[in-house]
């Protein structure tokens, strides 16, 4: 097997020329940031790899405006350091997928984070990547540079193209500059935990807290054995210290049958939320499914796929399940759909290779998707067959 051709543009005009040439010559381009998600989807041997890391650096950052503009190939770790130094964060809680594929961590780029649209535990209450992507510059499949959105936090001028770019996995256009909404980093964060709850009781307890004054930022459930011992139902409370203290007391005072929440120390909290970022409790040799569904259906879904036999984690108060089982997985997808959700095959194995990576769409929606892709990329330059 020969290694693929790699091109590394260092300017938008370089990239325009690369795309225009590929469109003229009927070639395919695979966009690559840090490569942390290279193994999501199928390999595309014929595609020319466009290494976006040459488009790097902060363009504009004024903390008081709550706006950050960076070049798409900028590494996330650099941005995180900058934001921490200014007491700010990306509230959708980006994460590095490298541990899921046993590759080198720290390489993931802002373009990769936006392109994959993957958010972390705080997405439950703070919104996803799509909610924080204010604007962008990109090169379309026509080799044409265009901008959409803006560099202010409140804007409704023109179609909201940032929404479709977030989570487009490099299939519409190549992002070159990204503007994100940033928010203050909480001064204090505490985690309160109930142990030994079933998935159904965990969903009820989390739903009840989310509907209360406790102003929970994140809520997750890890089955027995995930971190050793009984199951863990964890909620994160954050903000200013007096408020966090009051809200934790409120949660600890709730008498709800077997659900008694108690705060845990920093190390335990770090282990819980870290496990949800790295999926460390899940087996590495099975296919990995990302299942998004209405939270109340999570317990039924887990029952139906007999998840007890496999490994799973429940985030977003039940709205997101990561499942790694050994089976072929057709039942995972069918059951996700039956429960009003959808399942993405995040990590492939030989016995799942006949399945689509993305959840199959309703034909009418699929037809619109097809026209949308042609609207950005008429020649199919970004259609590499990866998905």
């Amino acid at each position: 097997m020969t290694s693929p051709t790699v091109l590394k543009p260092t300017s938008d005009s370089d990239l325009c020329a690369i795309v225009a040439d590929a469109a003229d010559g009927g070639r395919k381009l695979a966009l690559r940031g840090g490569g942390s998600k290279d193994r999501v989807g199928r390999s595309c041997a014929d595609a020319i790899v466009v290494d976006m890391s040459g488009l790097s650096g902060v363009v504009d950052y004024d903390p008081a405006e709550l706006v950050l503009s960076v070049r798409a190939g900028t590494r996330w770790v650099e941005i995180d350091e900058l934001l921490v130094a200014n007491g700010q964060m990306l509230a959708f809680e980006p994460w590095d997928a490298a541990p899921l594929f046993d590759t080198r961590p720290g390489l993931t780029t802002v373009g990769g984070i936006v392109g994959s649209g993957l958010s972390g535990s705080q997405r439950l209450t703070q919104g996803a990547v799509r909610d924080h992507l204010l604007g962008f510059t990109a090169v379309s499949g026509r080799g044409e540079r265009f901008v959409a959105g803006a560099k202010v936090v409140k804007n409704v001028t023109g179609y909201d193209l940032p929404k479709v770019m977030a989570g487009s996995w490099g299939r519409l256009a190549a992002l070159t500059e990204i503007t994100l909404k940033v928010l203050p980093r909480p001064a204090t964060s505490l985690t309160v935990v109930a142990r030994g709850l079933s998935p159904r009781r965990a969903w009820q307890a989390m739903a009840s807290l989310l509907g209360s004054d406790a102003e929970v930022a994140a809520a997750a459930h890890l089955p027995a054995g995930a971190l050793g011992g009984a199951s863990i139902t964890a909620v994160r409370v954050q903000g200013f210290a007096p408020s966090v203290e009051a809200r934790c007391e409120m949660i600890e005072a709730v008498e709800a049958g077997d659900a008694r929440f108690r705060r845990v120390g920093e190390d335990d909290a770090a282990a819980i939320w870290g496990a949800l970022r790295t999926m460390s409790p899940l087996r590495r040799d099975g296919p990995l499914w990302r299942v998004s569904l209405p939270a109340r259906h999570a317990p039924d879904f887990l029952d139906a796929i007999k998840a007890a036999d496999g490994d799973w984690l429940m985030d977003w108060a039940g709205g997101l399940i990561w499942y790694s089982g050994l089976g072929a997985g057709a039942d995972v997808r069918a059951e996700a759909q039956r429960q009003g959700g959808h399942a993405m095959l995040f990590r492939d194995t030989p016995n799942t290779s006949s399945l689509a990576v993305f959840h199959p769409l309703d034909p009418a929606v699929a037809a619109i998707e097809e026209r949308l892709r042609r609207a950005f990329d008429p020649a199919g330059v970004f259609e590499t067959g990866r998905f």
Binding site: A17, G211, R247
Partner: protein
């Protein structure tokens, strides 16, 4: 009206009676209106400077009726303008003389409420406030709160991506909607999103929200609900200069505080509002801030103290903290009545809606004062200070020859200024017809073509709400062609309206 709309098709207008009778076969009874008296109430929306009688009004009650109306219009080359409650401030629901106006006001039912997962499924004609009214007994509410919330419909909110005074902390419509059912221009019924936090495939739901009625007619909306904060308290802070008020806003944000609301008013707005509702505003200041904090009592108490301290450090002349719900509501009463209050200063006012980077505030206000002198028209400013969304209210008298045109020019200059300092044409009211011709100030031809290709994905015949948002109507076939040569696309310049 000083804005050009697409040329009317006389052949369609001549068929008015036939079109009305065909539509009556789909939507029976009095729900199809074609007589001048009946059409009159629909001749404008919240942007009353622009008026146009529609060809026919149709008020369906079911999704099937909407689908059949759209399919019939599609088949017979008739344009359609969708309308919710008609409160748009940008002319989004302005009728066309040769188009069917499709009113969604009869879709009034709340279909389902899931209290545990905090989700409501509603029809598009349900008003924004009615959603909150339906769930408040369970301690929940729907967060986006445009000032027209008593009248505006959730379908219209989806079309316009409406905001409100609390959207800095709680987001706009797009951040609070989980799914929609909609009818496309050809009558096809389709769903995007659902009850999960994300959907499969591209985020088409995200495209639909804020598309201003140009890509489909929303027939059902699924929204997220939030627990109503335990307490809310507000501060009323006066400053001798706009600069100090702006610095205070920046310092609050830099202090890690995202208030539930942070509003600023300038001297003319303060005086008008106070005279109108007796809010007890300080009248010896140049700028007034209302800062609202919400959450548990401990949160409010702590943050009130922090904001008081920050305001003091930034030269506040007066600081009042609300001691009761009545007092908090009084602080807001003036701000909420600012538009009608300013309405007493002149026979008419024109409300603008640009957003700027906040650091440019004093420059923009100074330049606006210069423009006010230049055009000989007064201006009062209310301002969502937290997110930089300006609402200058231009005062004019439509009965004086030339004043409306001057007000429009003044408004356009303000919006150009917003873009020039790094901001945008509209923060929450939408482009509509009002800012349509200013779109090239913010976007290049390439940017606008890419946006219009999205329109073509959903409505290739350009029959849905034409004349809105885009300054130039390219035929979709033109836009779809591939003429790439080193990134240059040789397009013939089509005439502007």
């Amino acid at each position: 009206m000083s804005i050009c709309m697409p040329a009317m098709d006389a052949a369609i207008i001549a068929r008015r009676d036939e079109i009305a009778s065909r539509l009556r076969a789909i939507v029976p009874g009095e729900a199809v209106i074609s007589d001048p008296t009946g059409l009159r109430p629909y001749e404008s929306d919240g942007l009353t400077a622009y008026r146009q009688m529609p060809l026919v009004v149709v008020l369906p009650e079911t999704v099937e009726q909407v689908s059949r109306v759209m399919a019939w219009c599609h088949e017979h080359n008739v344009k359609v303008v969708p309308r919710g409650s008609g409160t748009s401030l940008s002319g989004g629901a302005l009728p066309l003389g040769d188009a069917v106006l499709l009113g969604m006001g009869k879709f009034k039912r709340i279909l389902d409420i899931d209290y545990e997962d905090r989700i409501a499924v509603v029809q598009p004609g349900v008003t924004n406030l009615a959603i909150t009214k339906a769930v408040e007994h369970a301690g929940l509410y729907y967060a986006p709160d445009p000032s027209s919330q008593i009248a505006c419909s959730i379908g219209g909110n989806v079309a316009e991506n409406s905001g409100g005074v609390h959207c800095l902390k709680y987001g706009l419509t797009t951040n609070n909607v989980l799914g929609v059912e909609m009818v496309l221009a050809d009558g096809q019924i389709i769903r995007f999103g659902g009850r999960a936090l994300d959907g499969p495939g591209f985020d088409l739901l995200g495209l639909v929200v804020g598309s201003e009625g140009l890509i489909g007619v929303v027939t059902e909306v699924t929204v997220r609900l939030l627990p109503k904060p335990q307490t809310a308290r507000a501060l009323l802070i006066g400053f001798d200069t706009v600069e100090e008020a702006g610095a205070c806003v920046a310092a609050v944000i830099a202090g890690g505080i995202i208030p539930a609301g942070m509003e600023m008013m300038d001297r003319p707005a303060i005086h008008a509002a106070d005279a109108f509702v007796g809010a007890g505003y300080p009248l010896n200041v140049e700028a007034l801030l209302i800062v609202e904090l919400d959450g548990v009592a401990a949160e409010c108490d702590h943050l009130i103290g922090e904001v008081e301290r920050i305001a003091g450090e930034n030269g506040a002349r007066s600081i009042r903290v609300s001691k009761s719900e009545d007092e908090r509501n009084l602080f807001w009463a003036g701000r909420k009545a600012a538009f009608p209050a300013v309405g007493r200063l002149a026979p008419d006012y024109y409300c603008m809606d640009g957003t700027i980077p906040r650091r440019q505030l004093s420059i923009v206000l100074q330049r606006m004062a210069d423009l006010s002198d230049h055009y000989g028209l007064g201006v009062a400013n209310v301002f969502h200070a937290g997110d930089g969304n300006l609402h200058p209210l231009i005062l004019y008298d439509a009965n004086k020859p030339g004043e409306l045109a001057r007000a429009e020019k003044f408004g356009n200059d303000i919006l150009r200024l917003c873009v020039k300092v790094g901001g945008v044409l509209t923060g929450e009211h939408g482009v509509g017809v009002e800012k349509r011709d200013l779109m090239p100030e913010m976007f290049s031809e390439a940017d606008l073509r890419q946006q219009q290709r999205i329109k073509c994905v959903f409505d290739p015949d350009l029959r849905l709400n034409p004349g809105k948002v885009f300054p130039t109507l390219h035929r979709c076939a033109e836009l779809g062609r591939m003429h790439v040569h080193r990134g240059q696309l040789p397009y013939p310049d089509l005439p502007r309206f």
